[in-house]
């Protein structure tokens, strides 16, 4: 077996997986953060309680994603992060505000609570929008011309709306009563920009990169790949339906919305992965060109092979411990 071939492939897949899990998990945290200003004081506490035990671990997935980029593809890591210096910096500031506001809002005293609630929402919005911008820039190959800026700007709106839908769907699982109804309403609104974002990425990626267009639109590939966009569209329609169907919502099937989102995101990342492969920086670097030395990859591989399954197992354990509707967070 040729390790020099397989190890970069393994790490590229692991990075994709980490990023996908990040979008799904921290996506709902950030979404709930952005929804915070639209809730009453009492509801705000419940919303925070719905993400309290999880957000820290959720955020760690982006550290793993960027970590793998750094460990396995140092050349790409430098290229991507220096090109995206400003959005990365802004995103970090957003994540900082969001993360600390979490604690400060209950610990700094009631006089400061409003301020920290606002900073929580602002931080979530900045971080989400910057991540959208970075995704847009990454997909169009870090070019920096007017078209790719426009595209990045559109994704900077689309990704936050995906996060908001995720947040709303998470609230359907974790809350009940008025807040539950509100969450369904938020979901109904946000699915539209999210759907538009999906279409936009799907159309613009091949338009911006002829090589990617060739991969999708030549026969017989086109037929084999058709299920990806079709299934995505169907699942999205199902998602809209769940948010609208009082019957589904009333009878405890609200969690289907989150499931639908997981399916949409998995399909989308398959599509994206297929488009980009084997490049790690579109049109410039392949995963093999950017990879670190094989012996370094192998050393990390053994660690990852043991640690990743363990991480997944205890993540599931934590979610089981805190399953069910959110109760007020208490340290005592």
């Amino acid at each position: 077996m040729d390790l020099g071939y397989w190890l970069p492939l393994f790490f590229a897949a692991a990075m994709g997986l980490a990023m996908l899990i990040y979008v799904l998990l921290d996506g709902y945290d950030l979404g709930i953060g952005m929804l915070l200003p639209f809730a009453t004081e009492r509801e705000k506490d419940t919303m925070i309680a719905a993400i309290g035990p999880f957000w820290d671990a959720n955020e760690t997935w982006i550290v793993l994603g960027v970590g793998i980029l750094l460990i396995a593809f140092p050349q790409a890591h430098s290229l991507v992060l220096t090109s995206l210096y400003l959005p990365v910096t802004l995103m970090l500031m957003g994540l900082i505000l969001r993360g600390v506001a979490f604690d400060f809002r209950v610990k700094a005293g009631d006089a400061h609570r409003d301020k920290w609630n606002r900073l929580f929402a602002l931080g979530s919005l900045i971080a989400s929008a910057c991540q959208g911008w970075m995704l847009g820039a990454f997909v169009t190959g870090l070019k920096g011309d007017a078209n790719s800026y426009l595209f990045s700007a559109l994704i900077a709106v689309a990704l936050p709306s995906l996060y908001i839908v995720l947040g709303a769907a998470w609230l359907l699982i974790k809350t009940e009563g008025e807040l539950f109804d509100k969450a369904a309403g938020w979901g109904r609104l946000a699915v539209w920009p999210m759907g538009m974002g999906l279409v936009l990425v799907s159309v613009a990626t091949p338009l911006a990169n002829p090589a990617i267009a060739a991969k999708w639109f030549t026969l017989p590939n086109a037929i084999g790949l058709a299920p990806i966009p079709l299934l995505t569209a169907l699942t999205w329609a199902g998602l809209v339906w769940v948010f609208h169907s009082q019957q589904m919502l009333r009878h405890g099937y609200g969690w289907l919305a989150f499931l639908a989102l997981v399916i949409v995101c998995v399909l989308a990342s398959f599509g994206l992965g297929y488009s980009l492969f084997p490049d790690i920086v579109v049109g410039r670097l392949t995963i093999w060109e950017a990879a670190s030395a094989t012996e370094s990859l192998l050393f990390t591989f053994w660690g990852a092979a043991i640690a990743l399954p363990a991480i997944l197992i205890y993540t599931v354990f934590i979610y089981r411990v805190f399953r069910g509707k959110a109760t007020d967070l208490s340290y005592e």
Partner: protein, 458 residues
Amino acid sequence: MEFDPFLLARLQFAANISFHILFPTITIGLCWVLLYFRVRFTLSGDKAWEYAYFFWVKIFALSFALGVVSGITMSFQFGTNWPGFMERAGNIAGPLLGYEVLTAFFLEASFLGIMLFGKDRVSNRVHLMACSLVALGTTASAFWILSLNSWMQTPAGYRLEDGVFFVDNWLAVIFNPSFPYRFAHMLNASLLTAAFLIMGVSAWRAIKQVDGPATWKVMRTGALMAAVLAPLQVLIGDMHGLNTLKYQPEKIAAVEGVWHTEKGAPLTLFGFPDEEQQTTHMAIKVPKMASLILTHEWDGELKGLNEFQGRHPPVAPVFWSFRIMVAVGMLMVLMGWWASWRLLRTRIERYENHRWLLRAMSAMTFAGWVAVLSGWYVTEIGRQPWVVHGLLSSAEVVADHSSATLTGTLFGYVLLYVFLLVSYIGALRYLATKPARSLSLMPQHRAMQQARADQGGA
């Protein structure tokens, strides 16, 4: 005005890492202290230990959040500010950071949820296990990051091909020559920082008369930790210094202000180093002491800065940081002994009996921060001009951002950090002054407060 982008990139990284290190320093140590509180409660059933846990876990959570978010910034800045480092040393730095994420970050972040909010959802045993795992996670995190930092100071186990580092021997890389000393020094520093924090905040609570039995138990724990660990730190620090002398003699030359190689070098207690004139103005010196401390011989030879022309760190910041660290360290030793002696001798837990001690303890709440920051400045500024000692210079690996971009983002970061630091200390004050529901006032204090209120009313 144009600033040098290299200097700005360094300043930005320094601002970030200085802000970041404040919080892990607290959490690495505090986590073991929390575990101790939990174990004490489990063994004795004394509610006070549980209250101590509840009170301090809140501060732990807040500090942890600040550490996590500022740490994420660090992981991105390797790429955004120092791309050359990852391109050249990525084969070594990458896996070490990777192991930190895989073995530490997820562990601590995941079980933190149970540690903070899971008490009613899991058994006492699982909760204790969660606390232990978070403590292990924070320590493992320190292990990997200090291993990498030490490797940058004393590289080993590598080979260079066309300017790129490759690994020859992972064990030699991880357990490089300065690692054991740096790791021990930092872990102990962390425990000491936590000790002075819990002691200082408890003293503050006693001064403000919102203390309960738990407050004094915590204070005593902190005092005993300080009394044992502060002298131990002096010992570890000395061993660490000898290790540095062996591998980075120019750093020691800057620390001691030794301008020219000499035998029987004096110990400069104080003075103003002047790099242009290669002398220390107004120096107060103890003859032959530097040689004695560093070589354990009266006439031992110390290499001077003159042997490292253009390859030694800026002298004044290293010289000064070192003296601040040592001075604070000595104060910590004295404070630890004084506090333990007083608190163990008299078991009376009243403000009136310990006025001066309590004031001194609360004044030293953040003594650990000062010592840790100045210590890191000694070792990090002392590593310059290298990023990997002797092999790769910092200037070679910097990103070429415009100085306008760097000035803007530096300004943003500093503003944010100052705001967060003020908020953090504000929140700490608020939590410390608030009579926690669970921390019932002691009977004698209630009577006393009643008496005061009566007097005021009369």
